[in-house]
């Protein structure tokens, strides 16, 4: 029987990695993910986790070593944040094109400059094109559960892609939350032995990573794209199986009181829980509001998002990262473009909030919902996203 434990989320994730019986951990410490790698090192040092722990000298080498280890046919875990993710950016593309099911615990932290150690989503937004599966968690329990599911999804032979589990830096990594931690015996048979078809094995020599001449590059990219798109079925099946086995429900798109809502906020990450408080308050005042979380970021859940949003009157997309000089908000631009071809679609407005870890007050969420109502009243869909709380 799983025990409800008060445990720091980072340590819970490390526990999930241990219970998944990884073979190789290759990670470089960076605020705010340090507690994960420290706990894993402790576990290896005490013999609780039987894995090779590579104390790499940079994040770039961390992911490179992960690829090497994964191609030998072992289960691999890494973790990073912000600058580290940016440093390994080159190799992120290779991890997915070489089809290595690496699992990364990504503590979302703002990218420099100016230097920031606090939470926002600019790091993960820089990796949209890398071909990784990307899933958001909203609280410690989800971060813990999704780590197991990440291995299951990635190692599925139809998928064979790396998976990143996003969780907010400091807001989740350093929080002690009540989490149901599985007993080792409960979770032991959840994951099966990782058995890739192709591996680096002298008994069966293969060449991996050859030069992709123009004659085949297009087909290679299409193959990768199909694998990522088709993984949505495996992801949904994994969520369903998890619910049947352990009772907790996960969806590609999470909603809170959004079924009959007029105005919803679309966002990602742990602020989902704060918004739920404001939704309840405003519902009591008579406003029909709701919240929609884009839990699955890549592959983009076009169908699920459409069915959650199509009959809303106005949606306000809350971005926690900025695209300077361009469409301002990454989630805004993708949601807008996903609904571009629809004859009937809600009004779409964008806001930027919580950049660089700035707190978003509950009153500001109310302000954001009211922006949605204003848009309905005036019929005006502003093109620029508004930055909430900008002191100017």
């Amino acid at each position: 029987m799983a025990k409800r434990t008060g445990i720091e989320v980072s340590l819970a994730i490390a526990e999930a990695v241990r219970q998944s019986e990884v073979d190789v951990v290759s990670a470089y410490p960076i605020t705010p993910q340090t507690h994960i790698v420290e706990r894993l090192a402790e576990m290896v040092a005490d013999g609780e986790l039987n894995a090779s722990y590579i104390t790499v000298e940079s994040e770039h080498s961390a992911l490179s070593a992960c690829i090497g280890a994964s191609l030998v046919g072992t289960r691999v875990f890494t973790s990073t944040s912000s600058q580290g993710l940016a440093l390994m950016h080159e190799i992120m593309y290779l991890a997915s094109s070489l089809r290595c099911p690496i699992v990364m615990a990504l503590a979302n932290r703002a990218l420099s400059g100016p230097l920031s150690i606090w939470n926002d989503h600019s790091d993960v937004m820089g990796e949209r094109d890398t071909g990784w599966i990307s899933i958001f968690s909203n609280n410690g329990q989800e971060a813990y559960d999704l780590t197991f599911m990440a291995f299951k999804i990635g190692e599925n032979k139809q998928v064979s892609l790396p998976v990143m589990i996003n969780f907010d830096g400091f807001l989740l990594t350093h929080m002690i939350e009540p989490i149901f931690i599985f007993n080792d015996s409960e979770i032991k048979n959840y994951l099966t032995l990782y058995d890739p078809t192709y591996r680096l094995d002298p008994k069966n020599p293969v060449t991996m990573g050859s030069v992709g001449l123009p004659e085949i590059y297009t087909e290679a990219k299409k193959q990768q794209d199909l694998a990522l798109r088709n993984s949505i079925k495996v992801i949904n099946d994994t969520f369903k199986e998890f619910k049947e086995r352990f009772g907790r429900e996960y969806n590609a798109v999470e909603t809170y009181r959004a079924d009959d809502a007029e105005v919803v906020i679309v966002m990602q990450g742990s602020i989902f829980e704060s918004i739920q408080i404001v939704v309840d308050e405003m519902r009591n005042e008579g406003y029909k509001v709701g919240a929609v979380e884009l839990r699955l970021w890549r592959p983009f859940p076009f169908d699920d998002l459409k069915s959650s949003l199509k009959d809303k009157k106005a949606i306000v997309v809350l971005d926690r990262a900025m695209i300077p000089g361009g469409p301002q908000g990454p989630v805004l631009s993708e949601v807008r473009s996903s609904m571009y071809l629809d004859k009937k679609r809600p009004m779409i407005i964008g806001v930027l909030a919580g950049l660089g870890g700035r707190d978003i007050l509950l009153s500001q969420y109310k302000e954001i919902f009211n922006m949605g109502y204003d848009a309905l009243k005036t019929g005006n869909e502003p093109e620029m996203a508004k930055i909430i709380g900008l002191r100017e």
Binding site: S97, L98, R99, S160, T197, Y198, P205, V206, T207, M208, S210, G212, L213, E215, I216, E219, A220, K222, Q223
Partner: protein, 97 residues
């Protein structure tokens, strides 16, 4: 050619992994040369210098212990001509058809 340079999407292997070792042998680099080595077996001392110094592994040992260049792969670099201690390898112009 037994090997597909332009496979269709369904034919492209998983992650473009080449599963057959040594498929470079399907590509004959022999047409790169302008001069070709010719071994004079009467002077050859069977020392294997030509075999060991060839970057393209073009020399094949026969039953008698002589080494013969495989013109399908020999690029005509001339290393064997220079390194042969018996000076028995001539470097002649390749005939064009």
């Amino acid at each position: 050619m037994k090997i597909k340079e332009k496979p269709k999407l369904e034919e492209l292997p998983f992650a473009t992994i080449v599963t057959e070792p040594g498929t470079s042998e399907y590509y004959k680099t022999g047409d790169w040369k302008t001069l070709k080595p010719v071994v004079d077996k009467s002077k050859c001392i069977k020392c294997a210098n030509c075999y060991i110094y060839c970057p393209d592994n073009a020399y094949e040992e026969d039953k008698e212990g002589y080494f013969n260049p495989n013109y399908d792969y020999c690029k005509g670099c001339g290393i064997c001509v220079i390194e042969c201690p018996a000076h028995c390898i001539g470097f002649v112009e390749e005939e064009t058809e």
